[in-house]
């Protein structure tokens, strides 16, 4: 019997429970290679490409664009050309019967939700995943980001590590009060969160401004910093895309913000309507605009980076790696040059400022290697 493969709604990130096909790139009857992009999947957070799990011919588009279905639901069928229509019909009927049965069982299993904890530094929202007794990884997002930025990366690392993604002050669900915006103060905020969660030391993963915060933690508390993985970090040079910072703060309308967010990615199509809406919802909260302005004025006055942390990074005794998308339009990848020899530098083609979203699997592998290889 010819090989038939189910295409199912993928799970991007811990919190994803449903998604829809934004567009099909292949029509029934077209042949596809394994790993070839055959559809765009839109979730409540992001639009992402769906790569074919097998080679063959796309025989059915079970799901029409725009229809929301749960993770794991059948969206299409790929098969070898010799599979008959009757075989495909039987395969689909069989899949649907099994899927319904499993779904009823799985419905009790709730999606992971962020939690909140009060600390001396203020309210912290975080998302934890992974075994509590495993070595810890703490994720620190960048300017205007939140813990959802790690939605692709965190599940990949949660199998072997205790992972915690948190919201910095002024962001996500953490306190909107931001009196001290400089990196050492933000470092103390993260350390207070680690205290509250009983994390002594952790591997730190910092993105952009969060990279500068991670370096500051390594400086402030090197004994609690097992390693540093810095993704397009701030702090290694003075250039930064001032239009992005200003545009992000000022954009009030979805269309304005869409254009701003597109500059984060090598492929602008990754920015979906829902991602824009989620960022707008964050920006509408009382206190957020003020917090973003306070941060921008301190970190990027006059469109230049104010905190240069190369020396601090050079003094950090543990392992360090720097990861950069070659098409980063926010902070130039050239900032990764001229670092100490021990620092591993990884550069990804076809990625922009968000390598942890754009190349999640490879970035996860690098972080696991650095954290596990000590």
């Amino acid at each position: 019997m010819a090989k038939i493969t189910a295409l199912t709604m993928p799970k991007f990130g811990l919190a994803m429970t449903e998604g829809m096909v934004a567009a099909w790139h292949k029509q029934p009857g077209e042949s596809v290679r394994q790993g070839e992009e055959i559809a765009d999947i839109e979730t409540s957070k992001i639009t992402s490409a769906y790569e074919s799990p097998a080679a063959g011919v796309l025989r059915r588009q079970v799901l029409a664009p725009g229809e929301m279905v749960p993770v794991g639901a059948l969206i299409g069928v790929i098969a070898e050309p010799e599979a008959t229509e009757a075989e495909i019909d039987a395969f689909i009927a069989d899949f649907l019967a099994k899927f319904e049965a499993e779904r009823t069982e799985a419905e009790t299993e709730a999606a992971a939700n962020p939690e909140r904890v009060e600390t001396p530094a203020g309210l912290v929202q975080y998302l934890a995943a992974g075994p509590a007794d495993a070595p810890a990884i703490v994720f620190i997002h960048g300017f205007g980001g939140d813990l959802n930025n790690w939605m692709f990366l965190q599940p990949l690392l949660a199998e072997r590590f205790r992972t915690v993604a948190l919201d910095l002050p002024g962001h996500g669900g953490s306190t909107k009060a931001l009196k001290q915006p400089e990196p050492p103060a933000l470092a103390r905020f993260v350390l207070a969160a680690m205290d509250a969660l009983g994390i002594g030391a952790a591997h730190l993963v910092g993105h952009s401004m969060g990279g500068a915060v991670a370096i500051a933690i390594g400086q402030e508390a090197s004994d609690r910093t097992l390693s540093l993985s810095l993704i397009s970090p701030a702090g290694l040079g003075s250039e930064i895309n001032a239009d992005f910072i200003r545009g992000f703060i000022e954009a009030k309308r979805a269309r304005q913000l869409n254009a701003v967010l597109q500059s984060l990615f090598a492929d602008p199509a990754l920015v979906g309507r829902e991602m824009v809406e989620n960022v707008l919802r964050f920006k509408r909260l009382d206190g957020v605009e003020a917090a973003l302005r306070t941060l921008a004025d301190a970190h990027f006055p006059g469109g230049r980076q104010a905190y240069l942390l190369r020396e601090a990074l050079a003094r950090f005794p543990g392992p360090v790696q720097v990861i950069w998308g070659a098409q980063d339009r926010i902070i130039p990848p050239a900032h990764a040059e001229g670092l100490a020899e021990a620092v591993r530098v990884h550069r990804f083609e076809n990625a922009g400022h968000m390598a942890h979203m754009e190349r999640a699997a490879e970035v996860a592998r690098l972080i696991a290697e650095l954290a596990g290889g000590r």
């Binding site: 029409a64 664009p65 725009g66 229809e67 929301m68 669900g173 909107k176 009030k252 309308r253 979805a254 309507r273 919802r281 509408r284 909260l285 009382d286 206190g287």
Partner: protein, 342 residues
Amino acid sequence: MSKKSFRQAVNEALRQEMERDPTVVLMGEDVGGGMGAPGEDDAWGGPLGVTKGLMSQFGRERVLDTPITESAFIGAAAGAALRGLRPVAELMFVDFMGVCFDQIFNQAAKFRYMFGGTAKTPLVIRTMYGAGFRAASQHSQCLYPIFTHVPGLKVVIPSSPYEAKGLLIQAIRDDDPVIFFEHKVMYDDEEDVPDEPYTIPFGEARFVREGEDVTIVAIGRMVQMAGKAADALAKEGISCTVLDPRTTSPLDLQSILESVEETGRLVIVDEANPRCNIATDISAQVVEQAFDALKAPIRMVCPPHTPVPFSPALEDAFIPSPEKIAAAVRSVMASPTRQAAA
């Protein structure tokens, strides 16, 4: 962030703005209600419990139960707004506008203009609208087109709990008179609503979903109906943009025009009576400004031009349904002008 009903979202917006700003006061019939009467510890919070608990938290000084005289308390609220308070008055059912409309359209709406810009009137009037509550002709109308017609008034029609909280806080902070419409059958609808205060700007439509074939513009409760229709149509291979204008004054015509430029087809869903309603207004403006973009005639899905019936069967048939919306979308997809354009 937690799940909140439309009722809780409105209550939380009022509570948080009253905590933030001591000039915010509530007034209306039974907005407190019952509190202190024998056996009544807490306020009823109006006939549907929307303002429940606010009188016990803020006291009778700031939550004023008024006599059943809309002309008096709406007028008092307009005057108080002129003198520095931020009153939120409750006109229990918008159907009662007839007895207080002079205070709204000839007084509050005109102050800023006629006093040469020196006066501001930060007045909010919350009011219930809409059919489906088995409340008969005098408690089921929409009437927002009448307010939209009057320059100087802002008209807000939220389509969900998240929208209601952000738009009501924006309304309270706005310096002009705002009429805020709450659909009485939506109070138990639930969705995720942030615990923190937030604002949604007026005059910016929400793209509820984006599609390629047809633009559906829907008002208030009709946004849900349009979403259900779009779900059904997606299974037939018809992809719809659903646009929620959020406010009919100001109206985000730009977003509607941009969407029609993309899809070439427009269906407008409005629960208000079909003559001179929001659907006819949008239709006229789109035809005037984007006629060349249209591949098919515009279709309007509205109730018949009758009072809202009391018979449950007739009332259900009166309200635009997902099926009627889907049928209208199919008809613009099948329109002969489509072939001519293609």
